[in-house]
Amino acid sequence: MNLEAGKQAPELDGQDEQGNDVWIPALERWTYLWFNPVFGRYGCKECQASLLHELYPELRMAGCLPFGATFDPPEVNARRNEIHVWRIPIIQIDRETAAAWGVLRADDDPWSPHAPASAAYLIDPTGVIMESYSNVDHRRNARVVLEHLEGARVTS
């Protein structure tokens, strides 16, 4: 079950695909955190992550840092980033962290040991969850995130 918007985001620390330590609260920036990013087949037109990839510069220009989070070790995440020519850091997290973020799959789910549930959060610079996305179509979600970022700027 996803965490609700308006709550303080739990801490998230782990290693990105380069082996760098990442600690989300320390970023003090808008952060888009996508658990279990799936790229789709290389070259597949329906590649799920393609829009996020395409909108990466826009997200950065809007002051937002996007991250992926998986259970896979840095070498696997580095390989995926290289094959799919993706520029978004992917952090390795453990099951405890996944549970804290509400993305640990049920024990009877065959994917439970291998990947967190697919969910995403937009977190503001103070560490508060501004938007919570579950079962999101990631082909469209990057656009939605940009709209939410724009909306947050207008109201703040």
């Binding site: 279990n36 799936v38 790229f39 789709g40 087949r41 290389y42 070259g43 597949c44 329906e46 590649c47 799920q48 998986t70 896979d72 696997v76 390989r79 995926r80 094959i83 799919h84 065959p110 994917w111 291998h114 990947a115 079962n135 082909r139």
Partner: protein, 178 residues
Amino acid sequence: MNFVKTNNEALWDHDNDGVVAISRDGLEVATGAKRKPEGNQVWYPIVRALPEDMIAGHPQMLGPSTFERDETYDPDVVIEVYNEADFSPGAFKRYAEDRARDNAKQSLASTDWMVIRSVETGTPVPKKIASARAELRKAVDKDLETIQGLSPVEYIEYSSTHVMDAKMYLEKVVTESK
């Protein structure tokens, strides 16, 4: 939109275009369906109920489907349900392996006639093509080996890289030989 034939009887309007009443076992069950007449049966539009964990680009993993009437919300719609869809890590691995084999088979098929001709008439398969075919078969083994070393999430994304490269090479050799 796809349509499915039902066993329901239709009472057609004057233009024989729209259904004014639908009955099953002599009882009226719905009105207002719009479909072409085929005998006296009604065809309903199909709404596909894709499983929640369906990954775009992998429709082959849905398996066989059954058709069920949407009795609750819309009696003029048939829902296509995939009861045997399997999106477990093991299924994605099998799918990645099958894709490597199928892609190679498809590509080899385009030059199979040369092999048959060589058996039947003694005309040899051009050396470059025979060599490219052998490379394609080796590429299947390479892909299967690569898949063994992937993490489960990568099964979803794998696109039989070695086979695709060997396939392109075979296509190039065939084009050049013409």
